[in-house]
């Protein structure tokens, strides 16, 4: 008994009292600095991405206003370009559904597709609509603009005609203006929030709990990758979840040669975020890849960060082999679309199982005793 007692006491003392006499100077900590990673995310990726996006949404708003004032082919072309620029830029912020973006459900307002064309037409003809209602998610944002700018007719004259039509032309112009104003307004709200306080709140909340920034953003990130990128942009049109391909469910259905480009931009953004790469591309700074390396996370004797990057690259190669119109790809050769999906899918396992386990990311605030 004495032996037991002494062993027990010494182990416990070692375990607990040992904690109090160690130096805790943060500069000397040989640990991964989660706060530095958060700061890199906020200062070099998220805020620059939103700033850029906000510039594009402002141009979009201005182009929309100009088109409303003078409905000409020239202004339509400018507006279409502004739309494409903004939609491209959106792909780089969509994954950051945290803070105001989450509160205001910006992603739902901006990019639920397919657009509900019937309800959209109804909105235009009745002029009684409230775009801030969740029931109108699928009648606004980029998919609605895609339809108005590229789907209303066959050739350019049809569009000018539609927007100058004596009965509904003005309604259409006003609706379009409301859409671009709303996008710009919500974007400004999100950006302003990041710039006025949320940045510090985000960076300082560097703990390890379901409500801490790393846990939340990584959960959001994986959710985005799985649900919006993998499923929304590729899996759903390819019929992965329904059993039959549905070309009409692609992103940017109406603007030609555009949706594969959007998908590739989104994939780059996801991979760059994983690597902590600055938004301007100038530096590969501290990100999840470094965090995993610091924890020496390996799988089959390969660094997990490398496996994930390789898999992103494999997915990119598969997507680059697809038609520039993914809807056409689904119609012509859905097998290739499904192969691209499979490449995206393989990374879900690495991100959601291997990475989440290594980083000890909490999914939800709940009591746990480690199962």
């Amino acid at each position: 008994m004495r032996f037991l007692k002494i062993t027990c006491l010494s182990l416990l003392i070692m375990g607990f009292f040992g904690c109090d006499n160690g130096p805790t100077d943060p500069q000397n900590m040989d640990s991964f600095d989660r706060k530095a990673m958060l700061a890199n995310w906020a200062d070099n990726i998220i805020i620059p991405a939103y700033s850029d996006f906000a510039t594009k949404t402002e141009s979009l708003k201005n182009a929309g206003t100009a088109f409303n004032e003078e409905t000409s082919q020239e202004n339509l072309d400018l507006l279409r370009n502004a739309f494409k620029d903004a939609y491209r830029s959106w792909q780089k912020v969509s994954m950051f559904a945290i803070g105001k973006a989450e509160e205001e459900t910006v992603r739902e307002y901006f990019n639920i597709f397919p657009v509900d064309v019937e309800d959209l037409k109804e909105n235009i003809s009745s002029t009684s609509y409230n775009l801030s209602l969740p029931s109108e998610f699928d009648q606004q944002g980029f998919p609605a603009l895609d339809y108005l700018l590229f789907g209303l007719g066959e050739n350019n004259d049809d569009f000018i005609q539609a927007f100058t039509d004596p009965s509904l032309g003005e309604n259409r112009r006003n609706y379009l203006l409301d859409l671009v104003n709303r996008i710009d307004e919500l974007t400004d709200m999100v950006l302003t929030d990041w710039q006025s306080g949320f940045r510090d709140e985000f960076v300082n909340n560097s703990a390890n709990s379901a409500t801490a920034s790393v846990d939340r953003l990584v959960n959001d990130y994986i959710f985005y990758y799985e649900k919006h990128l993998r499923a929304g942009k590729v899996g759903i049109p390819a019929g992965v979840f329904s059993g039959s391909p549905e070309a009409g469910l692609v992103e940017a259905l109406y603007a030609e040669d555009f949706n594969r480009e959007l998908l590739l931009i989104a994939l780059d953004a996801v991979q760059d975020f994983f690597n902590g790469k600055h938004y301007d591309g100038s530096q590969d700074a501290v990100g999840l890849d470094d965090y995993l390396d610091e924890l020496e996370t390996t799988k089959n004797e390969e660094n997990l960060s490398k496996l994930i990057n390789d898999q992103f690259d494999a997915a990119r190669t598969a997507i680059e082999g697809l038609n520039m119109n993914l809807n056409q790809q689904v119609v012509d050769d859905n097998i290739s679309m499904l192969s691209a999906y499979d490449q995206l899918q393989l990374n879900v396992v690495l991100l959601k199982v291997d990475m989440l386990q290594a980083l000890n990311i909490n999914v939800d605030f709940v009591d746990a005793d480690g199962d």
Binding site: T24, N208, S244, N300
Partner: protein
């Protein structure tokens, strides 16, 4: 003395009732606070009302949340816990508590925690204990129910249960992951870098090992140190230190405090008398009223002599259930056959991913399931790493899609799981149609064997 007379002497031995009364009061109050906390966190809604689908324990599929009325179950449970604390209509109150609390825990196994199970069986045990004969409203109002002394076994029963919990928790840590790899503490502690003062230390490997070994020693030896009159006070200091530490490090809610207060039952009776004296002065109920030198015996018990038999069986089951894993082949941490109800606490960091494929047996159409349509993120996480959840969910999908017009739905799963820092590997056999497998306690031959070895329990 023959063993029989020894037992007889033991059964007839009496001790003061004060420790049992203090235990009852603390138990009732802590349960009430736990339930209030659960409600205030919004968890009743989140775990029992919002989800469309609930994971059931085998044989308890009929226990389901009852919509908004689920709040009533919690209310009943809360009121009964206060009645237990007051010792008011105690037998009725503790039975109500046991039933309502257990019902809550059976509603969805996603929220399974060892300590909820502990509360369930502890409250069951308390049904048979005379916890209301001293310093309770029942005994205050009715002189006949007032007893100064109770059989020693009634206090020892609680001590025994606590000892079983600790000891088995210790045994469960005797494995190579825990001892030789400091897993999963290495993962968990490293992530706690932001904890003031010790966050830096938690990054060091020797600290992970120290915590693993200290935790093991604590669990194995603390019951003996608490039973021993010479060491019980120093042991109690360790109980406090240990559980405060776990409260700081891990999201385990009220459990550390419940264990700290429960352990007071091991301490000297002077302390309990002192506590009740203080409480008595405050409430203007004098403890002397209960010090009537009367001894409570089984003849005073509502359930008469059956109590001892029931409790003997109860403890036999408690000793055997944690060992049932021995009946199963395969790695326990991987298959989790015999994992629950066995005081296996903080042993695994396990993550999984499960992608379900529905195949129409008639026309061969196949598609994948979006799990978020049916499960909350928390449920999905629990489901993906535990095979019995995967099977139950697959059966739910079969029913759902057959109602949706899929004929003869076959369900396959592409699943991966990762355990204690290892890379992910395939979990459930992707070629088995899960609709053809019945839920049962039989060994799960449809799990792909674990490709590593964990030595020990």
């Amino acid at each position: 003395m023959s063993p029989f007379t020894q037992i007889q002497t033991y059964v007839q031995k009496h001790v003061e009732a004060a420790p049992l009364a203090v235990f009852r009061i603390l138990f009732g109050i802590l349960m009430f606070l736990s339930l209030v906390r659960f409600g205030l966190n919004g968890w009743i809604d989140k775990f029992y009302i919002q989800p469309d689908f609930h994971f059931s324990y085998l044989g308890f599929e009929w226990v389901k949340p009852i919509g908004v009325y689920t709040y009533l179950i919690f209310l009943v449970c809360g009121i009964s816990s206060l009645m237990v604390a007051m010792g008011y209509k105690y037998r009725f109150a503790i039975i109500t508590f046991f039933l309502s609390f257990t019902y809550i825990e059976l509603m969805d196994k996603s929220t399974y925690l060892n300590h909820y199970y502990f509360i369930s069986i502890l409250s069951f045990l308390m049904i048979f204990l005379p916890a209301n004969v001293y310093f309770s409203l029942d005994a205050y109002q009715n002189e006949k129910l007032r007893f100064h002394r109770v059989p020693a076994w009634t206090v020892d029963a609680i001590k025994l249960l606590l000892s079983i919990v600790y000891f088995y928790a210790g045994i469960a840590k005797l494995n190579s992951d825990w001892l030789l790899h400091a897993m999963p503490l290495k993962i968990w502690l490293t992530a706690k870098y932001d904890i003031p003062f010790i966050g830096g230390l938690l990054q060091k490997e020797w600290v992970h090992y120290a915590f693993s070994w200290a935790g093991l020693a604590y669990d194995l030896f603390i019951p003996f140190l608490l039973w021993n009159k010479k060491t019980r006070y120093i042991a109690f200091v360790f109980v406090v230190l240990f559980h405060v530490m776990t409260a700081i490090l891990f999201p385990i809610g009220m459990f550390p405090f419940i264990m700290i207060f429960a352990a007071t039952i091991f301490l000297g009776v002077d302390l309990h008398r002192g506590v009740l004296k203080g409480l008595g002065n405050f409430l203007d109920i004098h403890q002397n009223l209960f010090m009537n030198r009367k001894k409570w015996g089984l003849q005073n018990h509502g359930f008469a002599r059956k109590s001892l038999l029931i409790l003997s069986l109860f403890f036999l089951i408690q000793l055997l259930v944690p060992l049932r894993f021995l009946l199963y082949p395969g790695e326990l941490f991987w298959t989790e056959e015999g994992f629950r109800f066995s005081w296996r606490v903080m042993l695994m960091e396990k993550a999984g991913y499960a992608n379900f494929k529905v195949v129409d047996g008639k026309n061969g159409r196949r598609f994948y399931v979006d799990n978020s349509r049916f499960l909350t993120p928390f449920q999905e996480k629990q489901m993906a790493a535990q095979a019995d959840f995967i099977l139950e969910y697959a059966h739910f999908l079969e029913e759902y899609y057959e109602n949706e017009g899929v004929e003869d739905a076959q369900i396959y799963v592409e699943s991966f799981a990762a355990l204690n820092g290892r890379g992910s590997q395939v979990f459930v056999d992707p070629n088995r149609d899960l609709t053809q497998i019945k839920r049962s306690l039989k060994a799960r031959d449809w799990i792909v064997p674990f490709d590593d070895k964990i030595i020990g329990f």
